[in-house]
């Protein structure tokens, strides 16, 4: 277990708050959810649901990219994985989306500056920077959670614990890491065959800790890929 079991999602899902955009790998808030929880009727501004939803897609992209800007670029993909598989991150994201929807609805919010380069509050042209994408409160929500750290402080590798070597070997055989023939000749951890896909460590209480080092690789292998032949995802 890496992302705590109580927090982990096997895959991102759609509900009354979000729908998951598989092409960009981000959660996009729904128009009704923003109306219900943030009290903003986007239909007044955008007249149709499609227009409002497109606006929210753009908003979601800006919010997500701003969150990634806090990260070391090496860890952005890990962060994407975490955002898609954590219940807690889902809640934090919706708070930030709601706040950003408020922030951007005001005249001169970042969307206006984004589109025109003009800040109507100050009546002058401003340079649009990433620091203006989120409101001060939304930025603080990011910083108060793990979303704002440079390194994602969640180990996303799957882990298993075993009381003794025999049960560890049974697990390795059952999951095709080693064959049962190899398992028969293994007496200590040192005899385990070299394999980059997992690691086994002994804990202070003598238990064996198995770490699946390919957790992330396996997850990204299941990503929806663009099929250039059929033009589908």
């Amino acid at each position: 277990m890496s992302i705590p079991e109580r927090d982990k999602l096997l895959k991102p899902y759609d509900d009354e708050l979000f729908e998951y955009d598989y092409s960009e790998q981000i959660y996009v808030p729904k128009v009704e959810a923003i109306l219900e929880y943030a009290g903003i009727n986007l239909l007044k501004d955008w007249t149709t649901v499609e227009n409002a939803q497109s606006y929210l897609s753009l908003l979601a992209r800006v919010v997500n990219e701003t969150i990634y800007s806090f990260k070391d670029p090496k860890y952005v993909m890990h962060m994407k994985y975490y955002l898609a598989h954590s219940k807690k991150a889902r809640i934090e994201l919706f708070k930030i989306y709601s706040d950003s929807a408020w922030y951007n609805r005001r005249d001169g919010g970042f969307m206006m500056a984004y589109n025109s380069g003009a800040n109507l509050n100050q009546g002058k042209m401003i340079e649009f920077g990433i620091d203006k994408a989120l409101s001060p409160i939304a930025k603080q929500i990011v910083l108060n959670s793990y979303l704002g750290t440079r390194f994602l402080p969640i180990d996303i590798n799957d882990k298993e614990r075993f009381d003794d070597l025999d049960s560890l070997l049974d697990y390795l055989v059952a999951n095709d890491y080693i064959t049962s023939l190899q398992a028969d000749s293994i007496n200590t951890l040192e005899n385990l065959p070299y394999d980059m896909s997992y690691n086994v460590m002994v804990e202070p209480d003598g238990k064996y800790l198995f770490i699946d080092l390919y957790t992330f690789k396996k997850a990204t292998a299941k990503l929806r890929m663009y099929d250039p032949v059929n033009g589908t995802w």
């Binding site: 277990m1 890496s2 705590p4 070391d72 670029p73 090496k74 440079r150 390194f151 994602l152 402080p153 969640i154 180990d155 882990k159 614990r161 690691n199 460590m201 002994v202 804990e203 202070p204 209480d205 800790l209 770490i211």
Partner: protein
């Protein structure tokens, strides 16, 4: 160094080799000599080093090392608590590795006191975890293909201390070295060998 050659008989029988006693009967020439003259007094001679007294490698008084868990570490190094909440935390693997290194390098037999030993092991791990976290953050983009800042600021006293001793580079390293140098100075280093993990 005072070296005395004594006759083994004074020990009321055969002496135990090792510690500070070494036999003269250990080379092929001596074996041949003994073969030709089994009653030669050299057969029972022993070299005994009275000073300095070498550590007795056969002594297993301190062989059973105390338990050192994550709880012991967090007790001394509390700032790591949010990063190492439990065994599923992202730094736990690194903790296990540095713990093994610390137990291997700070031998309990040299400290001979459980409280000081735990403190030293915690500080040693804290020192390396500090560097580990710093490297993970990688503020200077050192381990990245992105552009890294050209200018870096150093304090003169930091550079001086760094060149002296690696442990001086972190707060926990300084605390470790401050105490360990007392114990370390008492460890006889002449012929002492790392005995591997206890």
């Amino acid at each position: 160094m005072n070296i005395y050659m004594k006759e083994g008989n004074e020990y009321m029988g055969l002496y135990v080799e090792g510690y500070n006693k070494f036999s003269l009967y250990s080379t092929p020439n001596q074996f041949s000599m003994n073969f030709m003259n089994p009653f030669h007094p050299m057969v029972t001679m022993v070299v005994s080093i009275d000073f300095p007294v070498l550590p007795n490698f056969e002594d297993d008084t301190w062989k059973d090392i105390p338990v050192f868990t994550l709880k012991d570490f967090l007790g001394y190094c509390q700032p790591f608590e949010p990063l190492l909440e439990d065994e599923d935390s992202f730094l736990y693997n690194a903790f296990l590795l540095y713990r093994a290194l610390a137990i291997n390098n700070i031998q309990y037999g040299n400290i001979k006191d459980v409280i000081n030993w735990r403190y030293l092991v915690a500080m040693y791990i804290g020192h390396y975890m500090d560097i580990h976290v710093e490297n993970l953050k990688d503020i200077d983009n050192r381990f990245s293909l992105n552009q890294s800042p050209r200018e870096q600021k150093y304090k003169v006293e930091e550079l001086r201390m760094l060149s002296d001793n690696e442990f001086m580079s972190t707060p926990y390293g300084r605390l470790f070295w401050d105490k360990y140098r007392v114990f370390g100075s008492l460890v006889f280093k002449g012929t002492r060998k790392q005995r591997g993990r206890y």
